[in-house]
Each structure stands twice: as structure tokens, then as C-alpha cells.
Amino acid sequence: MPAPQRPPRPHKARPAASAASASAAAPASKGAKRTRRPAERQPSLDDPRIMLDRQISSDLYEPIPPYPTRTEREAEFYTLGDGEMFLNVGPHHPATHGVLRLVLKLSGEQIVDVDPVLGYLHRGVEKICENSDYYHVIDQVDPLEYLSSLFQEWPAVLSFEKLMDVQVPRRAEYIRVLSGELLRISSHTLYMGFLALDLGGLTPILYGFIERDEIVEMLAALTGARMLFNYFRIGGVNGDLNHEFMSRLGDWMSRAARQTEANAGLLNENEIFVRRMRGVGTLDRAAALSYGVTGGNLRASGVPFDVRRAHPYSVYPELEFNVPTRQEGDSLARYLIRVDEIRESLKIIDQCLHNMPDGPVMAKLPRLLRPRPGRAWGAVEGPRGMLGVYAISDGSDQPFRFRIHDPSFVNLETVTALLPGHLLADTMAVVASLDPVMGGIDK
């Protein structure tokens, strides 16, 4: 609230410049007592800055929607049974991987039902991309899953290349795979760290950030940015490999395998960690397929679907790597799959470095891109699952429809089936093991 007016302090002898203002101000307030204007002292009751101690009504603090429920599922969720209560694991929470609101219906500590509320990070990326030209789309689509930006750009350029029938040079493809796999390792290392942090272990995340920092510095030497890379272009990549990148990569590769084993061992061999993850949030094969889950979460439930093998793109047909699959489907399996994937990515990076061809890194394209009218779908395997882009072109220089399919979106949907029956503490284990990134979920 603004402070009440004070009379000006009497000044000592001052230079003449301010004498006028001082003498002008002085007579008005000379002898005036300190008055408080009533309007400032008691602001209007409608002022939202004031919170009075009103009678606390029972519906003031419930997350029950203040509008009548409109759907069957909403009505079912928002009716409380006997002894149940709502708990808002709200958008402001230290461990919800971003601004995610989970409305939990609890009976004591046991979760009966969960209703995730999204949209706190919705930025209208699809609409923005409809008003941007094709080069600008790549920049706009970066901050979706900000931890692995290159994997957002990849399906976009893939679908645009299909629309425009552009042939990407082989060197560019290899560079794409190399940078992508590096970023996959970085994202998975961070995943392990955040999983441990949500369960209470303070140390693994800092070890994970060491790895991530090294990889991100490498990619900064290559692309110019540490996080939102804006590196892929339609028809190639923006800039060839340089000496600093290669030297950093060499340094890192010499100790990467050992470091990964050490970081993974910090969690794998920790009895408390394993007991909290085993058997928690089990997603069986039929449910995983039914929810449309992709990526590590699907492979942990026994379905060996990896876009790099199922529908190969880029130079993956030439590279040798396994697709790790596990049958249990619980949080521990999801975690272990990510660790296996890091090892596979290291193999892929090795092969890329050995087989890197020479040549241009960018195809020749006109300045103003106007593809023929048509439709294209491009999908890649990101760290969290299958990222897809459905692009419709109408002949102008802006995409007519730019649809982004984000894996975290469908992965998070499984939470409604996985959480009920577990305890409140398992919320964090399950949500963290699914690896959601709210930027991608909310687009």
C-alpha cells in the first residue's frame, strides 16, 4: 500500500537552483500535521490485494471445479466417497517435472483416483507455426521438450523434406544422428538424476549435471547454443563439425562409458531406491499399447517398438545397435531401459565417428520455400518416445497445418491408470519414471 504523505524535511542552506522548489514546497506544508487520506487507509473491499478473514466455507479450498461438471468422468472423479479427500499436487511443486497439476483423490495415504490438469505451459506453438515460414518453424519448435531440443526439430525437418522432396546429404545425416544420440545420452542422464531427486537422493542429479554440462558444451561448440539449438535445417544441418567439438567429444568419449557405469551404479545398487521402484506403477503390455505409449515406457512393457528400427529414417539402417526391451513394466524396468539406451547410444556415436562420410552438410534450397500442396508425416525416436509431425502445405510459404505429436503427452495419460492403489509417495516415483517434460505436453 502506498505510504501516507510525509511533510518534507527542512533543508539546510542549499544552492539557489533548488531554492525555488524548496520555497514553493515549504509554505504549503509548513505547520501541516501528518494526515492520512482515508482512501489510502481503507481501500475498497473489492481490492484483490486485500484478503479479509472471511468465514471459511467448506468449498473455499477444495479443487472441486467452480463450474458444474460436464463430463461423466469429471462427475465420477469429483464425488468424494467415505473418508476420501482431494489433494492438489499443484502446479507449484518441487517435483512435478514442470507445471503439472495432479488432483489426487486420497483415502489416507492411498491414492484412489487422479485427474491430471494440463495447460499451464500452453504456448500455442502449433498456431504460431502456422503463421511462420518454414525456417522459423524450426526455431519455434525447439522449446517444446527443452531438454532434448534437437529431437523436436528433427521430425519437423523430416516432414518438410518429404513435402519438398529434398535429398539430405549423407554427411548431414550422420551429423544429425551423432548430435541426436549425444543429446539422448544427456537427456537420459538427467532423467536418472531427476528420478533420484524426486525420491530423495540429493547427489545423483549433480553427477548427472556434470555429464550434461560436458555434452551441452560440446553441442554449443557445434551449434552455438547450449539448450535451444536451432541447428537442423531443411536439407541438412547448419554448420559442419569443427575442431573444438571434435576435441571435446574425444575427451568425453574416453571416459563416457566408465562414467555412465558409475552413475548408474549409484542408483542400481541402492537398496532403498530399488525397493521404491520395483513393482510400482506396473504397465502391462496390453495397456501400454492401448494407451499409445511409445519409447522407453513401451519397451519396458515388452513391446519392442523403436521408430529407429520399425520405420527407419536417416542413416539408422546402416548402424548396428540393439533395442533393449524388458518385460516387467514397472518403474524400475523403465529406469533400467534408459540406462541400457545410454550404452546403445554410445555404440552408435562410435560408429558415426568411424563412418563419417565427407561432403556437404546442407542441400541446395531456394531462399523462399514454397512446397507443393500436400501432406507429410515424419516421426523420430526421441528420448521419451516417438515424436511426430504432421505437416500440411497449401502452396504458400507458411505451413497450413503443423501438428506436433508429443510422446510425453500420451505417456502422462497412463498416470490415471498407474497411480490408483499406490501411496502418495509413489506419485513421484511413477511420474518421474515416465519422464514427462511439460513443455512438450502443453505445446
Binding site: Y390, S396, F409, T414, A417
Partner: protein, 185 residues
């Protein structure tokens, strides 16, 4: 480009297809009526030689004249992506059957299509807004959506002149660049 897929699709879904099976690069596209969606999806999912078990995407599209719902599926029996375009939803009252009987994950994808376009999916138990606040009154990704228009209707109001009540524009030429938009098929 999977030729055998084309013949298998024509054999299975003959009477449902509204246009010839269109293949380009590594995608196969079929067009159906919205009412046929449950039957077609069921056939694609359950047939032994098709087995499209993985739902890759469910999107809404506003072409300016009509609305579409576009499904992308994948099967281990074919190397192509299958795109199913359920064409011909009216822009005033777009309705389509829901795919949640086959894939539970379609629930949130259909919520997103409803939120962005207003397409009502019959059979979806939970068709409410997912990104926008629950009392939002417009559908953002439609082609006739203008932000000042929406701000005038929203409770937040908008104090600047450009955010006040405003007649909505019709979809003609793009006012920004003047590019005449080609009809989208």
C-alpha cells in the same frame, strides 16, 4: 511405398474408402467418412494381415471449408505409416465417433482436438478442455480464430482498443501477406 499394403487395404476396406488409396514416399493415405471410423479402425486393428495396433497420432485439421480428423497408425506387417483422413466434418457442428473403444490413449488426443477445434467426439467419456481454461469460449486452431475477438469474450476483458469488441474477419485472403490460399484437399 508398400504396394501390397494398398491391395490389402482395398480388399479389406473396399466399401469404406471415399478416394483411391494414395501413396507417397513412405506413407499410405485413405479417406473415409467420419461415421465409418469405428468400423474401419476396428478392421485395421483386428485383421490378421493388417494388425495396425499402434496409434501414432490423432489430430484435427481445419481446411477452411471442412474439418477433418486424421489418424496415423503403424503396423508390424508393413513398412509404411497409414494415414486415415476422416473427411467432411462440418465447420458449424463437427462431430466424429471416438476411438477410445480401441485405444484408451485416444481420450486425451481427442480432448486436444476438441479444445483446439471444437470437434465433438461421441463416446469419449471425458470431453473437456485440456489446454485452455475450462471456461474458455473459442477454439484456437480454427482458421476463423482471431485473438482480439476472443479476448473480448473472455472474462479478462482486455483494455487496449485492439482487444475490444471487434467484428470477426472472414477467411478470405491472408490479410498479412495477401497470399491467396490454395484450396486444401
Amino acid at each position: 511405398m508398400d504396394r501390397s499394403l494398398r491391395s490389402r487395404l482395398e480388399a479389406r476396406l473396399g466399401e469404406y474408402l471415399r478416394a483411391p488409396v494414395y501413396q507417397r514416399n513412405d506413407e499410405t493415405e485413405i479417406r473415409i467418412d467420419p461415421g465409418a471410423v469405428p468400423d474401419v479402425l476396428r478392421l485395421l486393428h483386428d485383421s490378421v494381415d493388417l494388425r495396425f495396433e499402434i496409434l501414432a497420432d490423432l489430430a484435427g485439421v481445419d481446411t477452411g471449408e471442412v474439418m477433418q480428423v486424421v489418424y496415423h497408425l503403424w503396423s508390424p506387417m508393413s513398412f509404411d505409416w497409414l494415414r486415415i483422413v476422416a473427411d467432411g466434418l462440418s465447420r458449424e457442428d463437427p462431430r466424429a465417433p471416438s476411438a477410445t473403444f480401441l485405444w484408451i490413449g485416444a481420450e486425451w488426443l481427442e480432448r486436444e482436438a476438441y479444445d483446439m477445434f471444437g470437434i465433438v467426439f461421441e463416446g469419449n467419456r471425458d470431453l473437456r478442455r485440456i489446454f485452455m481454461p475450462p471456461d474458455y469460449t473459442s477454439f484456437p486452431l480454427r482458421k476463423d480464430f482471431l485473438l482480439p475477438d476472443d479476448a473480448a469474450r473472455s472474462p479478462g476483458g482486455g483494455v487496449r482498443h485492439v482487444e475490444r469488441t471487434h467484428a470477426p474477419a472472414t477467411l478470405a485472403d491472408d490479410p498479412g501477406t495477401g497470399i491467396r490460399r490454395a484450396p486444401v484437399s
